[in-house]
Symmetry: C2
Subunit: 215 residues, 2 copies
């Protein structure tokens, strides 16, 4: 670390804080009002930032909202990585619950609004498709790591992908009503099914250690 | 049947045809333009119907679009029922593919737009939540019947529900890009898993007929 980066520039700090406030206000706004109710002006007001300052950080509406979803997705990824792979009995269920929780919070609600708007708003289409693909790859990578899934075993990759597709569907089912009670039972059942698949994978690879945990 | 109902009234026939044209145009409009681009006027023009006639059938925008999604959902249900439960080897995969296909066509795209709009449009909220619950129950009922699932066996109900949640998630993944290739592999894998669960259910119930088909 050089002395230059160690000495913080208060102006840069303020700018970073403003940017962060705008991104967080943008996600909350999208989740609550949808794309049609989400403009740079509404977000600037919500964040307590002048419209000029908001436009300095994000020249267009598309810049602001795609950056917001990307920012929150990166934060959620960092949280999930910090969890680190749990060990021992019941670890698959813990991981599956943490993965499914990605799809039932405000981030998913915001991403869903952006995603659906991108299906008919030309300016959003390609950008959101690229963002969605990036977030999807990252979530899949984390799921594989946390579950200790060996994708070289036939079917394991598709089993993990199907689980994440189910998470997306459960998030959608939670959009208008609190689906928590039903979801809990579905998740318990599918976590058990996945546990069986992963145990079979482990014993196929390494018969001496059938319940081998993630290294 | 009385002579009165046997003799068709041409005026009523025309009215029914107009209504149907409006409903079909409304679904196509929602799927292509989203809620914010879908008005009674746009749909009337698309259907080749006067605005007054459209308003006679559907006094409000909410009436038109919720009726449209309900109408198309009923048509899809009727198609699926007409398929009748297939028999023999591979039947689970055939049924799973037909169920997942419910979530990748224009109906799902239209329902998704309405659903997402209902999360921030107050006039839509309660109506769409009720409609979603109704369509969800009907789809679940058909899935149970076509798969020959016995929900009295612990876990079977949740396994079927998880499959439909996965279908919803796969529909979402198909919104911005053609996800058909990946989806095919995921569906094949989870159809195999479900087949195992249903075979275990059947042998638990009826050990003499382990591969008993739906009666």
């Amino acid at each position: 670390m050089t002395p230059r980066t160690a000495l913080r520039d208060p102006k840069q700090d303020r700018s970073r804080a403003t940017r962060r406030r705008l991104l967080e206000a943008a996600v909350a706004c999208l989740a609550e009002r949808g794309w049609s109710g989400s403009t740079v002006a509404v977000v600037a007001e919500r964040a307590g930032v002048s419209r000029g300052a908001a436009q300095h950080h994000f020249p267009t509406r598309e810049d602001l909202f795609t950056a917001a979803v990307e920012h929150v997705a990166e934060e959620r990824s960092a949280e999930l990585r910090a969890l680190s792979a749990p060990h021992g009995e019941g670890r698959v269920r813990v991981v599956v619950e943490a993965l499914i929780a990605l799809y039932t919070g405000p981030l998913f609600r915001a991403a869903l609004q952006l995603w659906v708007a991108a299906s008919y708003e030309e300016q959003l289409g390609a950008r959101v498709a690229a963002l969605e693909a990036k977030i999807g790859r990252e979530t899949h990578r984390m799921a594989v790591e946390l579950l200790g899934a060996d994708e070289s075993v036939p079917g394991v990759r598709e089993a993990v992908q199907g689980l994440l597709d189910m998470g997306r569907g459960l998030g959608l089912a939670n959009l208008l009503t609190d689906d928590g009670h039903r979801r809990e039972r579905v998740v318990a059942q599918w976590a058990g099914i996945l546990e069986g698949i992963l145990a079979a994978q482990d014993s196929a690879q390494d018969p001496g250690h059938p319940s081998r945990a993630v290294s």
